[in-house]
């Protein structure tokens, strides 16, 4: 994957420049910045400054902002926080450092990111919640809900695998193509097994059972 600036249509650029005029750094990240997103995917933007830009409410760090042409998922962080181990060790910092496209600023912090044990633990807890959900509800879900939650589980296990290997987590479309093309599937399934989850069965077994029940129904 290479970093490529998205096509910056006028309104996107105008909104970003106006909304984030006081920010020192503006970074596009996520699938849109790599042109791997769907047309309706959010544009993920990290902004760095002393105060959060106006769409972000006081005490908050993130907001979804919608215009009639596009949606932004805007994340704000302060300049002082950029130097903290909490930020430098986070999943988001690792991802932005590796895959982000800087629209403003230099991102001198990006060479200092390193996946922290806290980030791994946080992802592991998310995976455990998703596994618990599968155990409790998968057998009774209608197919679209089952597909959705199995996919979310599989992606989070892939992300955990990256973090455990000290690697930045790539964008979601890449995780999906990695799974489709069987890249590192054994390693991903081993991570799932270590958490008591048979991922291939969750992905294929449950779905096959459900689809077969659908056909019978």
């Amino acid at each position: 994957m290479t970093n490529r600036l998205p096509v910056r249509f006028d309104s996107f650029d105008r909104v970003i420049q106006r909304m984030l005029k006081d920010c020192d750094e503006i970074v596009l990240f996520g699938s849109q910045s790599l042109r791997q997103g769907r047309r309706d995917s959010d544009w993920d933007v990290l902004c760095v400054g002393d105060i959060p830009p106006y769409p972000i409410k006081s005490g908050s760090r993130r907001v979804r902002w919608h215009s009639h042409m596009f949606s932004l998922d805007l994340v704000w962080t302060s300049r002082s926080e950029l130097r903290s181990s909490n930020w430098l060790g986070s999943e988001l910092a690792g991802h932005v450092a590796k895959y982000g496209s800087w629209l403003r600023g230099e991102g001198d912090w990006r060479t200092r990111t390193k996946v922290s044990s806290h980030a791994i633990l946080a992802k592991r807890r998310r995976v455990e919640v998703r596994i618990d959900f599968q155990r409790a509800y998968a057998s009774g879900l209608l197919e679209p809900y089952l597909v959705k939650h199995v996919t979310l589980l599989r992606r989070d296990i892939q992300r955990l695998s990256y973090l455990q290997n000290g690697l930045p987590v790539p964008v979601t479309p890449y995780l999906d193509s990695e799974w489709r093309e069987h890249l590192d599937r054994d390693a991903i399934c081993r991570v799932a097994n270590s958490l008591g989850c048979d991922l291939e069965k969750a992905v294929f077994g449950n779905l096959e059972d459900t689809v077969s029940n659908y056909r019978k129904g």
């Binding site: 005490g59 993130r62 946080a122 998310r126 618990d132 959900f133 879900l141 809900y145």
Partner: protein
């Protein structure tokens, strides 16, 4: 609606409990609201097995409300609003935003959502 269908939906409603105080709690809420949407669709929509999209709970409740009598429909519409509030707060919390006010608003929305759904399930027993 059959007694077993009502019991199955009620069981999922029973499990909606628990405060949203962390990102993991928010994830549990997302999952359980989807489980509830799936259960309600399964037992109220004759075309449930043909659906192709994991429709969010508020939309499911609004859709099912249109098929119900006035009183039952009102309960579901109100439940849809509460589910929307709960989802919005869970989304904020899943981003790592933990505002104590939101925690109590979420608890209020969850509790009212459950009350409305229990009342609706009760009402379904009378719809023979």
């Amino acid at each position: 609606m059959s007694e077993s269908a009502r019991a199955k939906i009620k069981k999922v409603v029973d499990e909606l409990g628990g405060e949203i105080e962390s990102g993991e709690d928010a994830l549990r809420v997302f999952g359980r609201l989807d489980a509830l949407a799936s259960a309600i669709l399964s037992y109220t929509s004759p075309k449930a097995k043909k659906i192709t999209r994991a429709t969010p709970l508020p939309e499911v409740l609004r859709r099912v409300a249109k098929t119900q009598g006035s009183a039952q429909g009102k309960l579901l519409k109100r439940a849809a609003r509460k589910a929307k509030t709960l989802l919005a707060i869970a989304e904020e919390v899943s981003y790592g935003e933990l505002d104590p006010e939101d925690v109590s608003r979420a608890e209020e929305a969850r509790s009212e959502l459950c009350d409305d759904l229990y009342a609706w399930i009760e009402g379904c027993a009378d719809d023979k």
